[in-house]
């Protein structure tokens, strides 16, 4: 299809086989088959390229999770059995992210058990660790950092959270670390302590009022809880920020390959283009675009118009109902393919140098290892 002619072909096998590539991050809009793509790539890396691989999934479809043996969300990688690695000697491990548990682990790592218990009991921590906007994104990155630090795997394949906007995923560590940095927290809790001549003095009056307003709105109890939370977390701020920065640097390193996952739909392609621009700005290595769910007629020479005209002729003549149906189905497929090419071209025109591969839509949804293998083949089709 034209969008592929315009873009250099993406060689997924080369990425998966490269010992220098240690992390593959799959990102893109929700509903484009990101998790399936991540699982299929990980399976292929293990089976074909003999790599000891772990795939970190965020929120897999139930049946896909089951096919990987992920029946419980226990936040640790489990080896996937029953795959074809005898020849290659690879391994596949899979895990599902448990956001709260990952957060708990971070707290435990940075403080003593008594203080950790105090933090865990704080209602503010409870609310934040399960609902704070960006926590899931941040914890996905944290988990990636942990897996990377353990050095047990040749390759880590990460599925990213279905963010409102693809940017949340890149911004979350910085946002959370900024938040936990506590400058604003401290200001809010004790404006007096910052001293009369701080850089904030020009708004001190407004700030006092603001603090009072917040106290009125969210209640004094909350501020007390918050205060306790801040005090308890105080010693950990440096650690949090350092880890976020570390992960950020790993994402910029040559050992990482970002794969954009999209489907030939306007929203998904727009999101992919936005993300491609952002990765470039952040100097993060974009390896290519995987365009999922592409429709391709098996008889490309027979156009939709000709097919419909032939169907009309046959219908008029009578006696070929089966063929009429087949021709109409073909016409619909051909029309869809043309539409999809138009949509996909918006990406390739904006980023002509980004390698791309199209994956043909599967007639049915994928939820077993065989299905993942088929997808892996399709992504690697040269």
């Amino acid at each position: 299809m034209p969008s592929e002619d315009a873009a250099p072909p993406l060689d997924v096998d080369q990425i998966l086989a490269d010992p220098g590539v240690r992390i593959v991050v799959c990102c893109g809009a929700g509903g484009v088959g990101k998790t399936t793509t991540a699982a299929a790539l990980a399976l292929r890396a293990a089976e074909r390229h003999g790599r000891r691989t772990v795939v970190l999934t965020i929120d897999p479809a139930r049946r896909l999770a089951q096919s990987l043996g992920l029946t419980e969300l226990d936040n640790t990688p489990r080896q996937v059995k029953g795959i074809d690695v005898e020849e290659s000697g690879g391994e596949l491990h899979a895990m599902m992210l448990d956001m709260k548990r990952t957060f708990d682990d971070v707290v435990l790592q940075h403080t003593d058990p008594a203080k950790a218990a105090e933090i865990f009991a704080n209602p503010f921590y409870q609310a934040m660790s399960s609902t704070f906007a960006g926590t899931q994104e941040y914890m996905a990155m944290e988990k990636l950092g942990q897996l990377h630090a353990r050095g047990e795997w040749d390759l880590i394949v990460v599925d990213t959270p279905p963010s409102r906007s693809a940017l949340d995923f890149l911004d979350a560590p910085a946002r959370l670390s900024r938040f936990l940095d506590g400058r604003m927290l401290r200001l809010l809790l004790a404006p007096a302590r910052t001293g009369g001549r701080s850089m904030f003095s020009f708004v001190t009056a407004g700030f006092g009022m603001f603090s009072k307003a917040v106290q009125k709105i969210i209640g004094a109890q909350l501020l007390t809880d918050l205060s306790g939370f801040v005090a308890a977390l105080d010693s950990m701020f440096g650690g949090f920020r350092q880890r976020a920065e570390q992960t950020y640097r790993i994402l910029q390193a040559r050992e990482t390959a970002f794969l954009l996952v999209a489907a030939p739909e306007p929203d998904a392609v727009r999101e992919a283009a936005y993300f491609a621009g952002r990765l470039r700005e952040e100097h993060m290595p974009l390896a290519g675009l995987v365009l999922n769910r592409v429709h391709r007629p098996a008889v490309p020479d027979l156009s939709a118009a000709d097919s419909l005209a032939a169907a009309a002729r046959l219908e008029h003549a009578g006696g070929h109902e089966g063929t009429v149906e087949v021709l109409r189905a073909h016409a619909a497929l051909a029309q869809q393919a043309v539409r999809e090419q138009r949509v996909a071209a918006r990406f390739t025109e904006a980023f002509p140098a980004v390698p791309a591969v199209s994956v043909t839509a599967q007639p049915a949804d994928v939820h077993d290892v065989d299905g993942l293998r088929t997808i892996g083949e399709a992504i690697s089709r040269r």
Partner: protein, 305 residues
């Protein structure tokens, strides 16, 4: 309120619903709350400000207005109403204090967003409500329960005070007969699964479910007998098309894949029917969602009501 898994087209459906409900001289407000500027993209307008703006005319002299609610702006507005912050408020925003305040209390953000929806819904001018209907392009299925269940979220943090009062008012409206949550899906496995899960969650939380809306639906096909290669070859010959083995096999293969897909769609459709809720199917728009397409969707939605 219109929710659905990401990628199912809930923004288009919300826009079509606002158009349909405005037809015939009525006025509706289309609201988005996630800062995605999905409405502006759909209608090809400049990004929407935090301000109710004329979006478009509806058939028969109606009007659709649009609003992109921003939690920070809503907080400033709220504070201003009670505390007259003025310039100090703007300075605080520069410092990131407002962003901070809307993130420290999870749920505060959502109360501010849904609170704005409540305010617009109940606003009157003279004896009349300003809007005949307010359509909210709500967060996706994965977060809709938490988003709407503001009372529970804020109750964890604020036991008394204005926020508590505010969230109680929002909760009462969202659970009243004035409100309905419509769930948009595609005939694909994941969206249907999330639809079923979201409806169970919302029902349990006491929110009135409106209808299940299947977007991009193709009508069910009668599961006919598959055509044999010999029949297909004869048919192609009769239509003066190539009849070589490769073409025949390829076309038969396309038809087979199509059949598999259709059967899966039919079984997913049956899962949705089993929910026992009103089901509306919106046609697949081959040319994408343009203005004419939105009108088609709007008519289908309103006719279904």
């Amino acid at each position: 309120m219109v929710t659905g898994k990401g990628g199912t087209g809930k923004t288009s459906v919300a826009a079509a619903l606002a158009l349909g409900l405005a037809a015939g001289g009525r006025r509706t407000l289309l609201v988005e709350v996630e800062g995605r500027q999905g409405i502006a993209q759909l209608f090809g307008t400049d990004p929407l400000p935090y301000e109710e703006r004329h979006l478009t005319e509806a058939r028969g002299g109606g009007e659709v207005r649009a609003l992109a609610v921003d939690a920070e702006e809503a907080l400033l507005e709220y504070l201003d109403m009670f505390y007259k912050l003025g310039a100090a408020g703007r300075a605080l925003r520069k410092l990131g204090a407002i962003d901070f305040a809307t993130t420290i209390a999870p749920g505060l953000r959502d109360v501010l967003l849904t609170g704005k929806v409540k305010e617009a819904t109940t606003r009157t001018s003279g004896q009349r409500r300003v809007y005949d209907a307010v359509v909210l392009d709500a967060p996706p299925t994965g977060r809709i329960g938490r988003f709407l269940n503001v009372t529970a979220e804020t109750a964890r943090l604020a036991k008394v005070g204005p926020i508590k009062t505010q969230s109680d008012g929002v909760a009462a409206l969202l659970r009243s007969p004035m409100a309905a949550v419509h769930v948009v899906t595609l005939l694909e496995e994941m969206p249907v699964q999330e639809t079923v899960d979201a409806i169970a969650e919302l029902t349990q939380l006491g929110f009135p479910i409106g209808r299940v809306i299947v977007n991009g639906a193709r009508p069910p096909v009668p599961t006919g007998r598959a055509v044999t290669s010999a029949e297909l070859k004869r048919g192609l010959a009769a239509a003066d098309l190539p009849t070589d083995a490769r073409t025949v096999a390829a076309l038969a293969g396309e038809a087979r894949d199509q059949q598999v897909r259709r059967e899966l769609e039919d079984s997913l459709r049956a899962d949705l029917v089993e929910l026992g809720l009103p089901l509306t199917e919106l046609p697949l728009l081959p040319e994408g969602v343009d203005r004419a397409g939105l009108e088609t969707l709007a008519e289908t939605l309103v006719r279904a009501d």
